[in-house]
Every structure is written in structure tokens, then in C-alpha cells.
């Protein structure tokens, strides 16, 4: 990276399946206050730019960026909104700091998934309006098709997907922020209702409400503010095509491309050797496996076996989603990536409590934009 950038403050609000006690503004405010307290800054004085992440149809408001500045302390200051995952927002903040024109930048993402009464319809509204949407199938069908192709191409057994669910929801039991901790069996996961064959209900992350705010600073400012900065070593993001008809169905090419950029900017040659753990998208259980392979932590077809052997458990060789991931914490819409980053920050500071990964020095967070997209973003952090 051309200039040092660190996370110097992290705050959150949530995470619960519903949150009727707080408006989205109050939820963002709560997370922001925690982050500024953590960083020891006053947003009205110390922040050069604010980045938020939101999509109109998840908020129920057109040009939702209107409603972002006040509760972050950003009124009458530079603010902009990214329609991406929180890690895309993080990338926008990192780039601003890298220009040398900004020293402290704040990133925010949130989810009020419980307030969206017709989420499958909103997802369907993301499909091509001419070629796909008129067929009016449930958007999870795309996940079902991807999963079948992935399993077929890699020879991954169904049980491996189920083990991802068992692992992540079990990890969530140790995470006080997680909404969906549970003690499940492979049989229960595979035996749950069919959503889009071979995808069963328990392999799909349920949604949660919450907000995450991160404070980023350049190296000099970071060292002045804190003695435990979490350094952003590298960042990358990429899209394949949006078009269902010309994309690969079995592989997560976007994850591969995003990771390659992140590794290049971080100067990482051997991800498995140089990275200690990962928090990666598991919107659907098979995605964790597919992403592990695309991110280069193992070869295609190996992630399932690795998972079945316990290699990705908290005490394993390479812990994956020690937080519980989206399966365990709840899927936070556009905030999912920042929830992954939040966990990496806790781990690298040694503050993860009962789900702490021992000796964690470098972690990777990866987010996917969900069906029907092929957009993803990765970030590598070190203490």
C-alpha cells in the first residue's frame, strides 16, 4: 500500500433479528459513539470525510444518502454513500487516505433487514428485468443452481456444506454479539426444509439488524491516537459479469479477483502461510467453501474436506468465521462485510473472548454482494 492506513476505532450496535427499540438513525448513532470513544476522537473536529454504505431498496428510501450525515457527526462535511458492501465502503475510505488529502475517514454500514417486509421481492428486483425477472422464480434459485454446479465441479459432499453451518452456528454461541448461535447436527441441517435444491433452509443465513462504524487513519495519526492500531495491509474488490447467461456457475471468480488485488496490494505471496484466519462470506453454507477456494486458501475441491476434518474450526489449523459468520451472527445486508471486519479487528486486538483465535496476527475479511450478483471485496488486516 502506498501509505500506511489503520483502523483506530470500531463501534457497533446490534445484532438481533429485530430492533424495534431503535430507529436506523439511533442505531447508527449508537455504533458511531462507540467507535469515536474507542478511537478517542471528536467527529465534529477530527474527521475529514465520512463514507456510508446503503442501497435504496433495502432502506425503503430513494437516494438514502440524504439521511446519513447527522447521526455520524458528519453534517456539513464531506460525506458520500457507496452502493456496495461495507468493505467497498472501506476501500473508498482507504483510497481517500492514500491520496494524502485525508487523514481520518469514517466508514459506516448498517442493516434494518427486519424493516424490509418483502425481502425476496427486493432481491428479485436485482435480476435482469428482461431476461430473468419475468420468470418470477425465487432468487434463491440462483444460489441453488450455483451450489449444485459447485458441488458437481469440485466433488464436494453435501455434508461439508452442513458442517459449515454446524461450525458457524456453534462458534456464534461463544460470540455475545451473535444472534443465531445454535447447537446443530449435520443431519438437522440437511434435513431442514428445501429452499432451492440442494440448498436447505438452515444453509441460508437468516437476517439481522445492526450497525458497524469504523474509524480509519493514516499511519502517523494512527500511532498518535492508539497503541493498538489494526493495519490495513491490502484491499481488493472485483466484479464478474452481472449477466446470469455469461457467468461461471461453479466458481466465485469475483472472490478470486478481489483476493488477487488484495494480496498484490499487501505484498502477500502465500495466503495460507501468511494469513492466520479468515472471516468470509457465508450467506449460504456452500459460499464459505467456494470462497475459501477462490481466495486461495486451498485448491478447488479441498475446502469441503478441510472443513469435515475440522481444519477451519476455531482451534483448527485455519479458523474460518470464528465470529459465527453470517450464518451465526445473522446476515446484515450491506453491513455483512463490516461485521466480518469488526471480528477481525477484535481478534487482532486479542479482544474476541471465548472465540479468540490464539496468536492471530493477520486476518482476511471477504464479502459478497449476494444473489444475483458477482461482486465481492476483500481486506487484509494485521496487528
Amino acid at each position: 500500500m502506498p501509505r500506511e492506513v489503520a483502523i483506530v476505532g470500531a463501534g457497533w450496535s446490534g445484532f438481533r433479528s429485530i430492533s424495534p427499540d431503535l430507529s436506523y438513525k439511533e442505531m447508527m448513532y449508537e455504533a458511531a459513539v462507540r467507535a469515536y470513544e474507542d478511537a478517542g476522537i471528536d467527529p465534529r473536529r477530527d474527521v475529514d470525510s465520512f463514507v456510508t454504505v446503503a442501497e435504496d431498496f433495502l432502506e425503503g428510501t430513494s437516494i438514502f444518502d440524504e439521511y446519513t450525515p447527522d447521526q455520524l457527526g458528519g453534517a456539513l462535511r464531506p460525506n458520500h454513500t457507496i452502493t456496495g458492501d461495507g468493505i467497498h465502503g472501506l476501500a473508498a475510505a482507504v483510497m481517500q487516505i492514500l491520496t494524502g488529502q485525508f487523514d481520518v475517514v469514517v466508514v459506516e454500514a448498517h442493516s434494518k433487514a427486519s424493516n424490509v417486509l418483502t425481502l425476496p421481492y427486493i432481491m428479485a428486483y436485482a435480476m435482469d428485468p428482461v431476461y430473468n425477472r419475468p420468470l418470477a422464480f425465487h432468487p434463491y434459485a440462483i444460489a441453488g443452481m450455483e451450489m449444485r454446479r459447485y458441488l458437481a465441479e469440485t466433488g464436494t459432499p453435501l455434508e461439508a456444506c452442513a458442517r459449515v453451518v454446524v461450525k458457524n452456528r456453534s462458534n456464534a454461541l461463544f460470540n455475545p454479539l451473535a444472534a443465531y448461535g445454535a447447537d446443530l447436527s449435520v443431519e438437522a441441517v440437511l434435513g431442514s426444509d428445501m429452499v432451492a435444491e440442494p440448498l436447505t433452509r438452515l444453509q441460508c443465513a437468516d437476517h439481522a439488524d445492526g450497525a458497524v462504524v469504523l474509524v480509519l487513519a493514516d499511519g502517523a495519526t494512527a500511532r498518535a491516537l492508539t497503541d493498538r492500531p489494526v493495519w490495513i495491509r491490502g484491499i481488493g474488490w472485483a466484479n464478474d459479469t452481472h449477466t446470469l447467461e455469461s457467468r461461471p456457475w461453479g466458481e466465485a471468480s469475483y472472490a478470486y479477483l478481489a483476493a488477487q488485488m488484495a494480496y498484490r496490494t499487501a505484498g502477500i505471496k502465500s495466503p495460507r502461510a501468511e494469513i492466520d484466519f479468515a472471516e468470509i462470506d457465508d450467506t449460504f453454507a456452500y459460499k464459505e467453501l467456494q470462497h475459501l477456494e477462490a481466495l486461495g486458501f486451498c485448491r478447488p475441491g479441498e475446502a469441503g474436506l478441510w472443513t469435515l476434518e475440522g481444519g477451519t474450526e476455531i482451534g483448527g489449523e485455519f479458523p474460518v468465521n470464528p465470529s459465527g459468520g453470517s450464518l451465526g451472527m445473522g446476515h446484515l445486508l450491506d453491513c455483512s462485510g463490516l461485521a466480518r471486519v469488526l471480528e477481525v479487528v477484535f481478534q487482532l486486538r486479542g479482544e474476541a473472548g471465548r472465540h479468540q483465535v490464539k496468536g492471530a496476527e493477520t486476518g482476511l475479511a471477504f464479502a459478497w454482494r449476494g444473489v444475483p450478483t458477482t461482486g465481492g471485496a476483500a481486506v487484509i488486516l494485521s496487528n
Binding site: 427499540d21 428482461v130 419475468p134 434459485a141 458437481a152 429452499v195 456457475w249
Partner: protein
């Protein structure tokens, strides 16, 4: 300092209900116009070819997404293909059970680099497999309106 006052009882919470009350009308586009006209009028599929990338796009595209060339070479392609992947969906968008589960597949159109996402019909879910040869079944010409739904479904060949 965080919030100084909070809601203390469930009867003090309130949700305000609303919607985004719009409707949309989408042109099928420059490439789509010809593609759907051919389906409507002749029950045929056409694609566009990128000579630079050596790709045949189905559905046809005005441009090559890889090299950005303007695609002007139209080629007729078969209405047959192979099941590249598929799923069986028992639920509608509201989460209610469908009368019959739908088999949704991505069908790679023969001789092309593209394909179509569509339903499979005249086949039981347990009989479907990756690689299965299928053909498009069109609606009667009078029922067609120039839409992806002019294809009723794809069914196994032979």
C-alpha cells in the same frame, strides 16, 4: 456519550408502514428487440458473435462485455442445449408452497458460449441431471408477445 433515553416497554415501540410505490417499464433493448422478435415471429434463437474474443453470446448482446466491441454479427443458433446446472424450488416469493415445485435450470445453448435460465418441463425433478439434452418449447404463435416467457420451458430431447 450514547443515548440518554431509551424505550422501556414494548408498548412504546412503533413501526411506520410504507412502500416504494413505483412501477417500471423496461425496453428489451437494441439487441433484445431482435432476439425477442425472432422468438415471437419464428420461434428461433439468435446470438451475436464477438470475433475478437471468439464468443457467441446468447442472449445476444449489443457489445462484448470482455472487449467492449460493438457486436454486429448475428448468427442463428439452435433451440437446443444442455443442462449446465439446475435446482428445484418449492416456494414462491412469499415463501408459500408452489402447487408444483419448479425446476429452474441454466441451459447452455448448443454451439454457443451462452444460454438461458428457464424452467424445465415434461420431466420429473429426480430425472434431471447435469448434461441432459433439452430443447425449447415455445408457446403458440398467437400467445407470444416477445418475451422470455414466450418459451414455455425446455424439455428433454428424445
Amino acid at each position: 456519550m450514547s443515548l440518554l433515553e431509551r424505550i422501556a416497554h414494548p408498548d412504546q415501540t412503533k413501526a411506520w408502514f410504507g412502500e416504494i410505490p413505483i412501477q417500471n417499464r423496461y425496453t428489451v433493448g437494441i439487441a433484445g428487440e431482435r432476439f425477442f422478435r425472432e422468438i415471437k415471429d419464428h420461434g428461433r434463437f439468435w446470438g451475436t458473435r464477438c470475433s475478437h474474443c471468439d464468443l457467441i453470446y446468447v442472449p445476444p448482446r449489443l457489445y462484448c462485455e470482455r472487449c467492449f466491441a460493438h457486436l454486429e454479427e448475428w448468427v442463428e443458433v439452435p433451440t437446443t442445449g444442455r443442462v449446465h446446472t439446475f435446482t428445484v424450488v418449492p416456494l414462491d416469493l412469499d415463501g408459500n408452497p408452489l402447487p408444483e415445485p419448479r425446476i429452474v435450470a441454466f441451459i447452455q445453448i448448443d454451439g454457443t458460449d451462452g444460454g438461458l435460465v428457464h424452467d424445465l418441463g415434461e420431466v420429473a425433478p429426480e430425472e434431471v441431471c447435469i448434461g441432459m439434452c433439452v430443447e425449447a418449447v415455445f408457446k403458440e404463435p398467437a400467445e407470444r408477445r416477445g418475451s422470455i416467457t414466450d418459451i414455455r420451458y425446455f424439455r428433454p430431447v428424445g
